[in-house]
C-alpha cells in the first residue's frame, strides 16, 4: 500500500494482455492449439459419419478432404498439432520428474525419450495404415 492509502493497481488489458511478453504469446499459442485439435476431431467425426453411409459417401468425403480447401485446412491443423506435441513433450520433466535415488533424471533425457516415442508412434501409424 502506498503512503496515501491507495493500493497500487497495475493496469492489465483484459483482452490483449498476452501480447506484451513473448512468454505470454507462446503460452497463448499453446492454448490456441485446442481449437485445431477440436477441428480435427470434428473432421474425424464427419469421416465416421460418411464411412457409415457407404462407399460413395466415403469416397466423396475423401475427395473433398484432398481438394485445395481440405489440404490448406489440414496443413494448418498439422502445424498446430505439431506445436501441441512439442509444447506437450517439452514440459514433461516438470509434469513428471523422474527421481533415481538422490538424483533427478536430466530433463533433456525425459523430453528426448518422448520425442523418440513420438517418432516411433508416427512411423508405426503410417506403416500400420499401409502408407509404405
Amino acid at each position: 500500500m502506498s503512503a496515501n492509502g491507495k493500493p497500487y493497481v497495475r493496469e492489465v488489458s483484459r483482452y490483449g494482455w498476452f501480447l506484451r511478453n513473448p512468454r505470454y504469446r507462446r503460452y497463448m499459442a499453446r492454448e490456441v492449439t485446442c481449437v485445431f485439435i477440436g477441428l480435427h476431431a470434428l473432421i474425424l467425426l464427419v469421416a465416421l459419419k460418411r464411412l457409415s453411409e457407404g462407399r460413395e459417401a466415403w469416397e466423396a468425403f475423401l475427395h473433398n478432404l484432398t481438394g485445395p480447401a481440405g489440404v490448406v485446412l489440414q496443413l494448418v491443423i498439422l502445424a498446430f498439432a505439431v506445436y501441441h506435441s512439442m509444447s506437450w513433450f517439452n514440459v514433461t520433466p516438470k509434469a513428471m520428474p523422474v527421481q533415481i535415488g538422490e538424483q533427478f533424471l536430466p530433463g533433456a533425457v525425459i523430453v528426448g525419450a518422448h520425442y523418440a516415442a513420438w517418432l516411433i508412434a508416427t512411423v508405426a501409424v503410417l506403416f500400420l495404415a499401409g502408407a509404405f
Binding site: 465416421l48 466415403w58 499401409g130 502408407a131
Partner: protein, 113 residues
Amino acid sequence: MAKSNKPIIWGLFAAGGTVTAFLTPALVLLTLLPVFGVMPELLAYDNLQAFAGHWFGKLVLFGILFLMMWHAAHRLRVTLHDFGVRADGVVAVAVYLAAAAGTLAAVYFLLRI
C-alpha cells in the same frame, strides 16, 4: 470434505493431450498423403470399413476421438477465460456439452458401420 469433479476433468484433459501429442500429426499426415500421390491402404473403403467394423477398431477409434474431444473442450474453456471471456459457468457447460454430444455421435456412427 468437499467433493470436486476437477480430477476427472483434468485427467481426461491430460490423457487426451498425451494421446493427441503422439497421434494427431500422424493422423493428419494419413489423409494428406494422397495429395502427394501416396494412398495409404487403410483409406480404401473396403479396408477402412473392415477396420471400423471390427470391435477392436471401433474401440481404438472411439478412444482416440473421446480423449481428443475432452482435451480440446477443457483447454478451450481455459483459453476463452484467457481471452477475456469471464462467463466461466456458461462456457464450461457449453464446451463439456459439445464434447459429450461429440462422444455420443462417435458411438452412434461407429455402431452403424
